[in-house]
């Protein structure tokens, strides 16, 4: 009897890219619901819009590059990219920003570099940063959590704002929008107010901003679930949050009136989301266990530096892109010791 031959191993693998991405999406769902709870329908509209744009751009690029469409569209990596972008932008972001930002992420940051597995930078962060730099006004129009707002938009109103740019009668942008906690302390510190004065406002909630602290707590749970499911490793998140807590704690101890507490830094901005969902992006991050520690620590450090002394309120996206540049070098210098070999001598 004749048989077809294949190479070993012969046990079929249990994982697939689709499964990895699907689990990332599952882990994003609770946090997404939480943001929507606090900041309104706009979050869900953005997610839907961004995912649609991502899938459309992915399909078009695959066709243009003459790659098989089905396996790559169904790997869900584009969905993850669009979804993360949508979580990073303000809830009432105009549709064209999502379109340009996600389009830029998929077309330029992902496919022009070779598509899945080949992009040196995290596409969602590239898209986000490009929009922050190009459209600073639109990208900082955050809303106060709904519990603080005078009026919450319903779905039709939200759609009208996002797609037509029309606010409901009698409202102006200044009336409805507010800054993020990080934005707000940056602005008010510049006005020579002390942190204890600034944070006395109900806007700042228990530790890190009303709404924000809950959202980040739920993202944290999602991230821990990903570690437990072995979708990501603990290295990058622990190193990133650890280094952020360490350096913010150091400055906070020196002068708590100017430098915010570690808890504020961990739970106010994009630190948690960045640590578990973006710094762990396998493609653009470091790939050795030791390298992931270095990578994460670098992101935490740079994010703090940008927050404390830079001109942008949050620095996680920039920090991740900067460390993406370093990843190949980090990998080179952090190779694990091979079994049966004495610690390797590295030449540059």
């Amino acid at each position: 009897m004749r048989f077809k031959t294949f190479t070993s191993p012969h046990m079929s693998p249990a994982r697939s890219v689709n499964r990895v991405m699907r689990q990332v999406l599952y882990a994003l769902v609770p946090g997404t619901v939480a943001i929507a709870w606090f900041f309104g329908w706009g979050v869900l509209v953005n997610v839907l819009l961004a995912v649609t744009v991502a899938l459309a751009a992915e399909t078009l690029m695959l066709m243009a590059r003459r790659r098989p469409v089905k396996p790559f569209v169904t790997d869900l990596s584009a969905v993850v990219c669009g979804w993360l972008f949508a979580l990073a932008v303000p809830p009432l972001t105009p549709w064209w920003i999502t379109l340009i930002g996600v389009g830029f992420a998929i077309v330029v940051a992902k496919h022009l570099y070779g598509g899945l597995g080949y992009n040196p930078f995290n596409p969602a962060m590239v898209g986000y940063v490009a929009m922050v730099i190009s459209f600073p006004r639109e990208m900082t129009l955050w809303l106060p959590p709904e519990t603080l707002a005078e009026m919450a938009f319903n779905l039709p109103q939200t759609l009208q704002v996002i797609f037509l740019g029309q606010l409901p009668a009698g409202l102006t942008w200044d009336m409805i929008t507010g800054a993020t906690p990080l934005d707000r302390i940056q602005t008010e510190l510049a006005m020579d107010r002390s942190l204890s004065e600034i944070q006395a406002s109900p806007f700042f909630g228990a530790v890190a901003g009303r709404g924000w602290e809950w959202v980040n707590l739920i993202f944290l749970l999602g991230g821990l679930w990903l570690i437990q499911r072995r979708v990501i490793t603990w290295h990058a998140p622990v190193a990133m949050l650890g280094s952020l807590a360490l350096i913010s704690g150091l400055f906070w101890l020196i002068n708590p009136e100017v430098y915010a507490s570690p808890l504020f830094h961990l739970f106010s901005g994009a630190a948690i989301l960045g640590a578990f969902f973006i710094a762990t992006d396998p493609v653009s991050g470091s790939t050795t266990p030791m390298g992931r520690l270095v990578f994460g620590a670098g992101v935490g450090l740079l994010a703090y530096v940008i927050r404390a002394w830079g001109s942008y309120a949050d620095g996680v996206a920039f920090a991740i892109l900067l460390m993406n540049m370093m990843a190949p070098t980090i990998d080179h210098y952090t190779q694990p010791r091979v079994f049966g070999k004495t610690p390797a001598r590295k030449e540059g």
Partner: protein
């Protein structure tokens, strides 16, 4: 569990795999009737090809040597039963290439007649001399039963500068589906222990550690019983956590002793010799019963056969014969594998024989083996790093191999890869990683071979050029000298001149010629030494 508590160490990575061992352990080992014809490849071991010492038409007895291999790393091949040699023919052999190789083909007569060919049992065991044990093991054609088939006598002969203080016995059998060692320990634990005692007498180690994965409670029990009172004699049976590839030689030594075999070294470098349980049972058979290595237990399993079980069969039995005695194929059998599902290789046909290293025949249906989807790009998730027992960076090796950057792959320790398949098994992108590493290794070997050949050729050419130039020069000198001598003769016609001079010159010239000739010969011999192709035994051994 009666096993003595023993400190265990860990190795990086590895996998918990569904072990699929229950399927083939429902029945005890079965000895099927002989096949009509046995096909014995001349190479069933690591090392040189054995040379046939029989010819077509010869009557052979059971246990008779039919092919000798007298190199240090090599093993004789014996007739597994009595019969008549049909011929020495090229026949498909169990090899991933599916190519043919020379084999001795025996038509079985069914008499199982040993003739005079049973080796005399060694009686005086108390004074068993290591050299005598080695000789017996060599004469018996014993090779490692774990799959690599490395000649056993070599492992019983540590180099003088190496002191072996630990004998590790490999009963881990970590690869899914395979149960031949399990069944051997269940049914012939006494033979394994007796074999170990023989090795112990020869090597005089401080301790003997028998490692058995804890998914084989019956084997553990049988071995502990067989060991009986020997426990305190520094022989320990250790239950190991089941984790593929604990049964890899280096991994097992690490788990049991905490020692790491150096990357370029052998277990003896850290004072350890490792033998498979099957090998020990064979040592016992060879010494006490005088039987050479002519048969083995083979697991025939997988959902592709109707009645998975273990069979004891003589070497040379065609796989189709084994499958027939395992209930035959299921209807939708898809793939036939020699060895286990992680490291075994797929066979193109079931008309190839069982050889010394065959531990398992796995017939799989498509749902067991088919990849779940197409190959995707590497997303550098690092799951392969997490499971690699050699602590490599498989994703980087893959990257370099794809880019054909073999130097870089070697910098990243490509040759420390043991091809266990863990990385490919967990790869979410379905990349056949191990195949890339095999490809890279083969490319590097062939490049090295080509380079050595080219170097040798260049050296030969340079030597020749030099020799030609020298000969030309010498010829010119000789001509000159002769001319001068003639001139001297013609000009100096005084007979009274010292007649010794020309004679002396002639003697001198002859001496020079002789010396020059010697020098040339010397150069020639060095040249042939260098041109000799390098033996690749060492590298082959490392890949297994």
């Amino acid at each position: 569990m009666t096993a003595t508590p023993h400190k265990l160490w860990r190795f990086n990575g590895g996998l918990k795999l569904p072990d699929h061992k229950a399927e083939s352990t429902q029945e005890t080992v079965f000895k099927p009737p002989l096949a009509d014809c046995l096909t014995l490849p001349l190479r069933q071991h690591i090392g040189e090809l054995a040379q046939p010492v029989v010819k077509a038409g010869d009557k052979v007895y059971k246990g008779q040597i039919i092919a000798r291999c007298d190199t240090y790393v090599g093993a004789h091949i014996h007739a597994p039963t009595s019969g008549r040699v049909r011929g020495i023919e090229d026949h498909p052999v169990p090899h991933p290439s599916g190519l043919t190789a020379p084999c001795v083909v025996i038509e079985v007569d069914g008499d199982e007649d040993w003739g005079e060919h049973r080796m005399p049992p060694i009686e005086d065991l108390q004074n068993l001399d290591p050299a005598r044990l080695r000789h017996r093991v060599r004469e018996g054609g014993l090779v490692g039963m774990g799959g690599a088939a490395f000649p056993s006598a070599v492992k019983l002969n540590p180099r003088p500068q190496q002191t072996v203080d630990t004998v590790v016995v490999n009963g881990a059998e970590c690869e899914p589906y395979i149960t031949c060692d399990d069944m051997l320990m269940r049914t012939r634990a006494d033979a394994v222990i007796q074999g170990l005692l023989l090795v112990k007498r020869a090597l005089q180690p401080r301790q003997c550690l028998i490692g058995i994965e804890d998914n084989k409670p019956e084997a553990l029990r049988a071995m502990t019983e067989a060991l009986g009172g020997e426990e305190n004699d520094n022989i320990r049976i250790v239950a190991l956590p089941s984790r593929y590839p604990t049964g890899g030689e280096r991994q097992l030594i690490r788990v049991l002793t905490g020692r790491e075999v150096p990357s370029e070294g052998l277990p003896a470098d850290v004072g350890v010799v490792c033998h498979n349980v099957g090998t020990l049972a064979n040592i016992y058979r060879a010494v006490i019963r005088g039987e050479p290595l002519i048969s083995r237990i083979v697991t025939v399993t997988g959902s592709g056969v109707q009645r998975p079980r273990n069979l004891r069969v003589p070497f040379g039995t065609p796989i189709s014969h084994l499958v027939a005695h395992a209930g035959g194929y299921s209807d939708d059998v898809e793939r036939l594998i020699m060895g286990g599902p992680m490291m075994g290789f797929a066979l193109a046909s079931d008309q190839v024989p069982i050889i010394k290293g065959t531990n398992c025949i796995l017939a799989a249906r498509s749902e067991e083996v088919d990849p779940p989807g197409p190959v995707m790009p590497c997303i550098r998730c690092g799951e392969c790093v997490r499971v690699c027992p050699a602590n490599l960076l498989p994703q980087q090796l893959y990257w370099f191999t794809r880019a054909r950057d073999f130097d870089k792959a070697q910098d990243y320790s490509l040759f420390d890869c043991i091809e266990c398949g863990c990385c490919a098994h967990v790869c979410p992108s379905n990349i056949p990683l191990v195949q890339f590493y095999r490809f890279a290794k083969n490319e590097i070997w062939s490049q090295e071979r080509e380079k050595q050949e080219a170097d040798a050729a260049r050296l030969r050419h340079e030597m020749r050029q030099e020799r030609l130039a020298r000969e030309k020069r010498e010829k010119a000198e000789r001509m000159n000298r002769k001319k001068q001598a003639l001139n001297d003769d013609s000009t100096a016609d005084k007979p009274a001149t010292a007649g010794g001079d020309p004679k002396k010159a002639a003697i001198q010239a002859a001496l020079e010629r002789a010396q020059a000739k010697k020098a040339t010969q010397g150069a020639d011999t060095t040249q042939t030494d260098q041109a000799k192709p390098p033996s690749d035994i060492g590298t082959q051994e490392k890949t297994r």
